[in-house]
Symmetry: C2
Subunit: 381 residues, 2 copies
């Protein structure tokens, strides 16, 4: 294999990974049943508490985010269980399907892709369902660039029904704050390769006290994702199965950077650059894909002007400017772009990406008012 | 976290990882939906064919070996299915339990730990079972150091019953050859961190044509481990979920080293060093744990002399000689050791490990005849 050229990865995951995080992976190999790994796991666990804002111990699974979400489903959903799932994009669609694969009855609350179901519609479904087991909600739809604005508000309604409240925050946690203890989120899941800017391959999952109790009493059918087993091993500083050790080193370094920056500052940084991205796209005359009221700070989605082929556009951005943009999803795939505004994202990333986009648009015959773009950049500075 | 000291990892996984394999992980991050990853996956797939000796495409999962084995179970076993599982250690015990978690009826053929069930006993169970769905067999019991010597021979009996033949070769493939096409193995599973000497976090899984057909027609309930989905994505050079990209780079480099050495040479090298290990342990007056007729070339198990605490012994080996030995398993845990003879293992590894063991035995008051040990080393040279 040829050594790959370094590109600016503006994907909604994986993201650019800081050198110090990459370098952490090549530490000498260690035993996963020895003191060094126990210290490493302890360090990861403590810093993960900062990320989730919890006093309990989050677990880390050797699996991508989808595996983490599947773990949540298999540990909580039993055949016949009723589960409300707002569906408004590819990943929430998959979530509802996963609930059904585990034997649950998924009560979908749908909205058009590019929007999120209203809080009222979701609360209505929650209130109407007899014997509701859980609400599984995607916070940030990576496929559409929409973020649910009522994660905190919904918690009370779910709690009143005695149901579990599970939040898929794969592409948002770290770019957004979800204080799980304060808000009463029973399970929150995120991935290593999104706002944490670590390499892909690990998922992180927080559990409330009552979730811990439930999973200990009700072991799931899928052993690899058995959360009670994870907790038991974590209690003595180990994982049940051989962990992806280099990825744990990287995650630890990435979490150290999070703690150094502070979660609040990181969230602000994501919000600031998202605002600039959206303003520039608007100055370029482009239409956003997501409803502006719910557009995401971590996944910026938009539509190319009529006549521009998204594949060709991404190809030129890659070949001529070494920038990797995200493709579209769904019915408007051929006209849609997604920009990952995640992890390391900085003013430099915004400048480089938008300058290259503007110039590429010109090459495709779409005139961009560079003066307006510059004005936005100046204002954001 | 402090930077860890480099140790000689003589564990039955993870193993020592060559520098060129570790270094492959820190290549610049890439998109998992782009051409570079497609080339990487193609390269991994082609070299994996050499490992499994198959013309079909093995799949690689972002999960440890346990996840790979669980994938095989969930893709083939349906509620009520009869499955013969030889049980002779920790990992084969888990395998039978996993079959039951998936709803299957595990027909256990047991033998004392330190032995393997006889071929006759297993064939008898296979022949007696009406409507047999599959035989799941652990080739090499990592917990006891026993390798089943009749993997090839059993295939015919299983095939005659029309059942699937699944071989867990997590801790053996590469140190042993299992030519899956020639022998008629329907599914064979291994891990990245054993005889391939790559970091942990990936499992590799081969499938026969009829397995491919079965999984395509019968999707499993666990989406993360859906093998048909893996095959569909592999066909266009992708994985269904975000893969642990740095681990794929490392695996590719480790497989390149396998191809450079040649599978046959690697198997011979493992056999040669295993022989020396066993001879030296005998010269030290130690008892093996495994029945000599089925002792493994990749996991060397033995018993400490009476009165030596295994924890204390491992501690001194680690602190005084920077060597990590494996602990025991099961009833004889307190007196048992396991040495991983896997991956990079070389004459230098054998010398360093056995010299340190001999000197540590002396410190514990157990006299070792160093003359006899030297004679073995000389003979092996």
């Amino acid at each position: 294999m040829d050594y790959p050229k370094r590109k600016l990865i503006m994907l909604p995951g994986p993201t650019n990974v800081p050198d110090r995080v990459m370098d952490a992976m090549i530490r000498p190999m260690i035993s996963h049943r020895g003191e060094t790994f126990t210290s490493l796991l302890k360090s990861v666990t403590e810093k993960s508490r900062h990320l989730f804002q919890t006093t309990l111990d989050p677990v880390v699974l050797t699996a991508s985010g989808t595996g983490g979400v599947e773990a949540a489903v298999w540990n909580l959903v039993r055949p016949g269980d009723k589960v409300v799932v707002p569906v408004f994009g590819e990943f929430s669609t998959r979530l509802a399907e996963t609930v059904e694969l585990a034997g649950g009855e998924a009560i979908r609350v749908t909205s058009e892709f590019g929007t999120v179901p209203s809080r009222e519609a979701v609360e209505d479904a929650v209130n109407k369902a007899g014997n509701l087991k859980a609400v599984f909600i995607v916070h940030n739809e990576t496929s559409t660039g929409c973020a649910v604005p009522y994660i905190e508000q919904l918690a009370g309604t779910v709690r009143e029904k005695g149901a579990f409240y599970v939040v898929d925050a794969i592409s948002s946690l770290g770019g957004y704050a979800i204080p799980v203890d304060k808000w009463g989120v029973d399970v929150c899941i995120t991935g290593s390769q999104k706002c944490l800017a670590a390499p892909p391959g690990l998922s992180l999952l927080s559990m409330s006290k009552r979730t811990e109790e439930y999973v200990r009493k009700n072991p799931p059918k899928v052993r690899y994702f058995d959360l009670a087993r994870q907790l038991d091993f974590l209690a003595h500083g180990e994982t049940p199965f051989t962990p992806a050790i280099p990825l744990y080193w990287a995650l630890d370094e990435a979490l150290t950077m999070l703690v150094e920056e502070g979660l609040e500052n990181r969230v602000e940084r994501h919000a600031k650059h998202a605002k600039t991205f959206y303003s520039i796209l608007e100055a370029m005359g482009l239409k956003g894909f997501a409803d502006p009221k719910v557009r995401s700070n971590t996944v910026i989605s938009g539509l190319y002007p009529e006549g521009i082929d998204e594949k060709q556009f991404r190809k030129r951005m890659n070949e001529e400017y070494d920038i990797i943009l995200g493709a579209g999803f769904g019915a408007l795939k051929a006209r849609m772009f997604r920009i990952g505004n995640m992890g390391e994202v900085s003013t430099a990333h915004v400048h480089r990406t938008t300058a290259a986009m503007a110039l590429t648009f010109k090459k495709f015959g779409y005139a961009v008012d560079l003066g307006r773009v510059s004005a936005v950049l100046e204002q954001a500075a």
